[in-house]
């Protein structure tokens, strides 16, 4: 179970997966199932960010979270891509290396879906990121680890969305295109360059 637990009681499993960047600006955050207050969620993010960001480059990818994420059964597993941290909180039923691989799959999937993903893609399209994540992790449990399968399903759903929008969607798309064009700080130029999410093609874990 990819899960974190509510700080107050370690029995309720939720999944939260988050990405934090250096300015803590964008976070795709998934707290599954049990209710935490918004404040508590924010505190968890802040502290997690604090913990993760101050770690050295060459230390290991695991962090024992302690009380904040629900006790000793749970740990943080993270990977660092350029300016982004992908942090998963898991309990002892998950294999550590397996989750590292899952993060890899997630990032590669994002890369495929956004065509060369960069930080701003994730910031501006949180909903899409969530939809992709929903095909991988459901209610705190790993659902699918096969990247092709995930992409097929995500594409099929996007296609459906497009066909529904049809004629009514056209003007809105045009306007949003215009809006984007007006902006001097159009996101694409701030690509993080080739270190970005060009992930090493590690032999996949699958």
């Amino acid at each position: 179970m990819v899960a974190g637990s509510r700080p107050t009681s370690c029995r309720n499993y939720r999944c939260w997966i988050e990405r934090l960047n250096h300015i803590t600006e964008s976070k795709t955050l998934k707290f599954a199932l049990e209710k935490t207050t918004e404040d508590m969620e924010q505190q968890i993010i802040r502290e997690t960010f604090h913990l993760v960001s101050k770690r050295d480059e060459n230390v290991c990818n695991f962090l024992e979270g302690g009380l904040l994420i629900g006790g000793s059964d749970n740990k943080l597993i993270y990977r660092h891509y350029a300016t982004l941290y992908f942090v998963f909180c898991v309990d002892s039923s998950e294999s550590e290396l397996g989750i590292l691989d899952l993060i890899q799959v997630f990032v590669e999937t994002l890369d495929k879906c956004f065509e060369n993903v960069c930080e701003l893609d994730l910031i501006f399209h949180v909903d899409k990121v969530h939809n992709i994540l929903a095909e991988m992790v459901m209610g705190g449990m790993v659902l699918e680890t096969n990247m092709n399968e995930i992409i097929t399903q995500v594409d099929a759903q996007n296609k459906m969305e497009k066909s529904e929008a049809g004629i009514a969607g056209a003007p809105a798309r045009a306007v949003s295109a215009v809006k984007n064009m007006n902006l001097p700080e159009i996101p694409r130029n701030i690509n993080i360059g080739d270190i970005s999410i060009k992930v090493p093609n590690l032999p996949s874990f699958k």
Partner: protein, 1170 residues
């Protein structure tokens, strides 16, 4: 039409969409809060519009704001609206928002049930998928119960996409609704062999999660998993299966052997892939290696070691040095892992060494968090399993004292509690501890000098208490007393000052006692004067506790001073104030005190005046340690020989050791019962040691001493063994050589660790450690039992139907459902009730949940509020939920019952011509509450809140030994007219519904009336029964037509009839002489049953048996009574009921043993439910 749509979307294209919102927030870095509040206002406007696209856009933005930490629960209803849109685009937005912000307390979740059900059965697989994903995040017990069946169906959907999601979500459903586990399990098992790998992995995932908590129930799946493990190529599945086997092998050792081969194969496969990863890391791609850090392997290595440690501690211990090295690693995760490992590695032999190394690290460590972690680990390591590894407590005390020198630690209280614990439980160490503590008190300024270090001043709390309580061991109590009353003490936290004062009084008593015998001593009076001088400072304290204690002690001392001036001997009386010994109390002791008979903890002593006044604050827990004063001294038994031996060793050690001086003889007098006290060394105070708290002993000294001691002991042992060897050649060989083993190390002290006290006759309970709130506990269900009919999942019906329908399951639930109020009270007392019943009760205890719906709908359906119109409900929410139903029933029943009684009497007049009325009456009176349910009301069924069918009586017919009359109440709770009701039962071999002549064996009986809305009526059906010795269940259906203004629909309702053996009994009075004759006749077989823990009065108990099981009392003498009943086929049933404190024994005789057995079972069941 199309134009209109285009126009609508042109209107809204200037609304902000999510990207605009994000951009806006980024552009308003300085006044983000203000910007967002305007955005929220805009969103509120958008939500008011009718256009679903606008709403969806607004909800999408809200989801983002929720992630930023804003509370958006106010929009919950709008989210539901968006969820119910027919377009996938909006539905997805709605479900995403719901999964982010709904939780168990969100009340609109109630409204989503039907929407979700509709989506689950949608022809579009993505609608279903989105609904499943959303549901997985906010499933509640209610949703789980209502939708379990739908999800079960989806598990065999044609599309693997749906199947895998349905399988995975079942885990969440099980957690919320444990009853669904058994019915769903066979299908889940099937999915393990699904052709689609995704579905298969989901099924493995779910079962592994389940098995992790309750492995024993899943042992039977081992062969299946074994097959999967050898055949599967999916690494995810393999990892899960291996984890599962990890949980199973401890339970089934044979598994281990079998696993070795496939596991080694796997390891080879994995190793090669790991090596491949490593190679790819090292060759080329230097830029990318950052994402998997190099030290990851060492982390995993440590992790693996900690697992091996649990089973093979020896093999890990050889790597001790390596692990200690890891403590120097700069990665904190690795250091913490290494610490964890050390915890498991310590033994008597290496404890001191390891702790010494850790102490070095404590000094070196940077950052308080890590240092605190080290500190807690040191204490954990030392105190683990009841100080098992500590051989020298003097060393441990000195370690604790050294730890107090840590700067800025937060764990002062931890050290303090350790000091207290050791001083109280290890009697032999008290003298030493007291001296240490006195030094600590004397140097209190070192600890309190810096206000930031106030975490550590908790230690003074322990120090003061130890010095006070065991003041007899003090060398110079007067000096300590003086130290405790310094003006500086007033700057300490209140609870510590309070302890200071209390213990100053104890010291005062000691001083007085010491001075009593001494002639012409002014010391006693000086001491009183000292107290009188110093205490006023504390009387003025702001802390109430301090103030109170100080003024109390002050008055006492003043009084004593007067007595002293008159030269009265007071010492004895003063010390009597503090007499008695403290014993440690086990943490769970309070819980284990059995509740005395007749004490109702839930009853009010005084009715509570009002809500607002009950907010008393809890008293501070700090003082609790002082309060439990037991006067029972505990004598510890130490083997005399052992003692002598240790004494000898100790004397030698002392002689060699410059740090020891002889203990003062006075201490021997005071604690004569403590063995070995005279040998407790006193440490020489060496004030010249720089940079150390003066007088603090160094733990290193002890380390050395200990080594010396062990060496010596070893030598001695060798000598002895040599002697032994001469005597017995064969046996000595084993011990002779090799490194010293654990057992060889004898503790330096008489370590009689006082065990914690438990109350007398403590209740044995095994489940202490289990957390009652653990959701997995409920899932501890035997899955191999065949599925009973009663366990079927509730079928798709309306909410209130389900609520009330579940009680049908299983006979034991019946009276619960009908006796909600009474039960709920009793249930509080009995915690070990099975989970199933608790669920049922909760339904009744929480009517507000359902009340919500009741209230919500009338307002929502009003003309001003549009939401409900767009909120597509598949069926109309039934507006009449009939909560008062139960109450109504009980009243109704009362009437009916009486009427029925009369009917019966008429019918069976010739059978009951004698004093029958009287007897019947008395039974009736005996039943204190008439509302008490009849246990044989076997069913309570509701269909879509339309119709209730209640069997309220199953009564044997005396006129014909093979007939049973079943009375059924039909109540129409809907607003529609019900007609053409047909009642049908599937006949069994034994019981048949009596149908009119000419009707076929499968035809139903038409109910001879129709039901207008809100009306109830009763019908009777006659069954012919052949054998009455066994209870029986019959299945039946009721078909009827619901006629409303527009339409009429045909409905069907399934139910079950439960014929208990009791229902074949008929209350028949019997005279005592006839009864005696019957018993003497010897035709009857006997049987007996014992009921434990029945707390009701005997009178009540008899009434209950009579009432529920149709007996009549023949004779009653004190707590013993004989009862009689007769079956419709003329079997005599005699009971002898005896009761003795909470245990009821029932001896029974009957001429039909199996009937008797069943009746007794039913009686047992009746009482097991209360």
């Amino acid at each position: 039409m199309a134009l209109k749509i285009v126009k609508g979307s042109i209107d809204r294209m200037f609304d902000k969409n999510l990207q605009d919102l994000v951009r806006g927030i980024r552009n308003h870095k300085e006044d983000e809060a203000k910007y967002i509040s305007t955005c929220i206002d805009e969103i509120k406007q958008e939500l008011k519009q009718d256009n679903i696209a606008v709403k969806a856009n607004a909800v999408c933005k809200l989801t983002y704001l929720q992630m930023l930490g804003y509370d958006v629960s106010w929009a919950a209803f709008n989210i539901v609206e968006v969820m119910s849109s027919s377009k996938f685009t909006y539905k997805r937005i709605g479900y995403l928002a719901a999964s982010q912000c709904f939780h168990e307390g969100t009340d609109v979740i109630m409204l989503t049930t039907n929407q979700i059900r509709k989506d689950l059965s949608s022809p579009n697989q993505y609608d279903t998928g989105v609904a499943l994903t959303g549901l997985s995040c906010f499933v509640t017990p209610d949703l789980a119960r209502d939708l379990a069946n739908d999800i079960m169906t989806l598990m065999s959907h044609t599309k693997p996409f749906i199947r895998k999601k349905a399988v995975l979500i079942m885990y969440k459903v099980f957690l919320k609704y444990p009853e669904s586990l058994r019915p769903a399990f066979p299908r889940l098992k099937e999915k393990l062999e699904d052709p689609d790998p995704g579905v298969q992995s989901a099924a493995v995932n779910v079962i592994c999660e389940l098995a992790r908590r309750n492995p024993k129930n899943y042992l039977s799946l081992a062969p299946l998993f074994f097959k999967l493990m050898t055949s599967s190529t999916n690494n995810w599945v393999l990892i899960k299966i291996i984890k599962l086997f990890g949980a199973l092998t401890p339970l089934e050792p044979r598994l281990g052997k079998k696993l070795i081969e496939p596991l080694t194969n796997l390891i080879h496969r994995f190793l090669s892939s790991v090596i491949a990863v490593l190679i790819s890391l090292s060759s080329g791609m230097p830029n990318h290696s950052a994402s998997i850090q190099v030290s990851t392997p060492s982390y995993l290595g440590l992790l693996a070691m900690s697992k091996i440690l649990k089973t093979h501690p020896k093999s890990v211990q050889s790597h001790k040095d390596l692990i200690l090295q890891c403590l120097d690693d700069k990665d904190e995760s690795i250091r913490l892992r290494a610490l964890d490992l050390l915890y498991g590695m310590v033994s008597k032999k290496n404890l001191m060494e390891i702790v010494k190394k850790l102490m070095v690290h404590v000094d070196k460590a940077e950052g308080t968090t890590y240092r605190d972690e080290l500190l807690t680990k040191i204490i954990d390591i030392c105190s683990q399993s009841n100080y098992q590894y500590i051989t020298n407590f003097e060393w441990y005390i000195s370690i604790l004292v050294e730890l107090t020198r840590l700067e800025g630690t937060r764990h002062g209280h931890l050290i303090a509690s350790q000091m207290l614990d050791v001083a109280i439980r290890v009697k032999a160490i008290r003298g030493f501890a007291v001296l240490q503590m006195a030094t600590l008190l004397d140097n209190a300024h070192m600890l309190t000098g810096n206000t930031q270090r106030n975490g550590i001043c908790e230690v003074l709390y322990a120090a003061a208490w130890i010095c006070g309580e065991f003041s007899d061991h003090l060398e110079d109590p007067l000096q300590t007393l003086e130290a405790m009353l310094r003006p500086k003490v007033a700057t300490l936290p209140g609870h510590i000052q309070a302890v200071y004062i209390q213990n100053a009084a104890k010291l005062f008593a000691t001083v007085l006692r010491a001075q009593e015998g001494v002639p012409d001593s002014q010391k006693a009076q000086e001491t009183s004067q000292l107290l009188i001088d110093r205490l006023p400072l504390f009387v003025q304290s702001a802390n109430l506790e301090v103030q109170e204690r100080a003024s109390c002690v002050l008055q006492l001392v003043k009084y004593i001073q007067k007595l002293q001036q008159k030269e009265v001997a007071v010492a004895e009386e003063v010390s009597a104030l503090f007499a008695g010994e403290l014993n440690p109390v086990a943490p769970k002791a309070q819980k284990k005190v059995p509740i005395p008979e007749g004490l109702d903890l839930d009853a009010w002593i005084n009715e509570p005046p009002s809500e607002s006044e009950s907010e008393d604050e809890k008293p501070r827990a700090v003082f609790s340690q002082e309060e439990p004063r037991h006067t029972r001294p505990r004598h510890t038994e130490v083997d005399e020989k052992e003692l002598a031996r240790r004494r000898e060793a100790r004397k030698q050690e002392q002689a060699n050791n410059p740090f020891y001086i002889k203990a003062s003889p006075s201490s021997q007098k005071v604690y004569p019962e403590v063995p070995g006290v005279e040998h407790i060394p006193v440490v020489q105070i060496d004030l010249s040691v720089p940079l150390k708290v003066p007088g603090m002993p160094m733990s290193d000294q002890y380390l050395k001493m200990e080594e010396e001691r062990r060496q010596k002991e070893k030598e001695e042992k060798k000598k002895k063994e040599k002697k032994k060897k001469k005597e017995k050649r064969g046996r000595g060989r084993k011990h002779e050589s090799g490194p010293e083993s654990e057992e060889d190390i004898t503790p330096a002290h008489t370590v009689d660790i006082v065990t914690e006290e438990m109350p007398e006759n403590a209740l044995p309970s095994d489940d202490d450690d289990k957390d009652p709130n653990d959701p997995h506990k409920a899932l501890d269900i035997d899955l191999d039992k065949p599925l009973a009919d009663s366990e079927k999942l509730p079928v798709r019906t309306h909410r209130p139907t389900d609520i009330l329908k579940s009680p049908v399951e299983g006979a034991e639930l019946e009276s619960v459902s009908q006796e909600p109020k009474k039960k709920s009270k009793k249930d509080k007392k009995e915690k070990k009730k099975d989970k199933e019943r608790k669920c049922e009760l909760n339904l009744y205890l929480k009517p507000p949940d359902y009340g919500f719906m009741h209230l919500y709908i009338p307002t929502a359906s009003g003309t001003t509020l549009s939401p409900l119109q767009s909120f597509a409900h598949s069926d109309k929410i039934t507006k009449h939920l009939c909560f008062c139903l139960l109450q109504k029933f009980s009243k109704h029943k009362k009437k009916k019952q009486k009427k029925e009684k009369e009917d019966k009497k008429k019918k069976k007049r010739h059978h009951r011509h004698h004093s029958d009325e009287g007897g019947d009456e008395s039974v009736q009176n005996g039943t204190v509450e008439e509302e008490e349910p009849l246990p044989f009301l076997s069913m309570l069924l509701y269909l879509r809140a339309l119709l209730s069918v209640q069997v309220y009586d199953i009564q044997g017919n005396l006129q014909d030994g093979s007939q049973v009359v079943v009375s059924v109440i039909f109540e129409n709770k809907s607003t529609s007219f019900l007609k053409s009701m047909e009642f049908n039962v599937l006949d069994s071999l034994n019981s048949k519904l009596q149908r009119p002549d000419g009707a076929g064996p499968h035809d139903g009986l038409s109910v001879p009336f129709q039901l207008p809305p809100g009306v109830s009526n009763e019908a009777r059906f006659v069954f012919s029964v052949q054998s009455i010795v066994m209870p029986q269940k019959l299945k039946g259906t009721l078909t009827f037509i619901v006629k409303s203004e527009e339409s009429s629909t045909h409905e069907k309702l399934d139910f079950k009839l439960h014929f208990t053996c009791t229902s074949y009994l008929i209350t028949t009075p019997c005279y005592s002489d006839a009864y005696a004759k019957l018993l003497e006749s010897g035709d009857l077989k006997s049987s007996s049953v014992r009921l434990e823990g029945v707390s009701m009065s005997f009178h009540h108990l008899l009434a209950r048996i009579c009432f529920h099981h149709h007996f009549s009392v023949v004779e009653r003498i004190d707590s013993c009574a004989s009862l009689y009943s007769r079956s419709i086929q003329g079997h005599h049933v005699c009971l002898l009921v005896k009761t003795a404190d909470q245990t009821v024994s029932i001896d029974a005789k009957c001429d039909e043993p199996s009937l008797l057995g069943n009746v007794l079972d039913e009686i047992k069941q009746t009482f097991s439910m209360c």
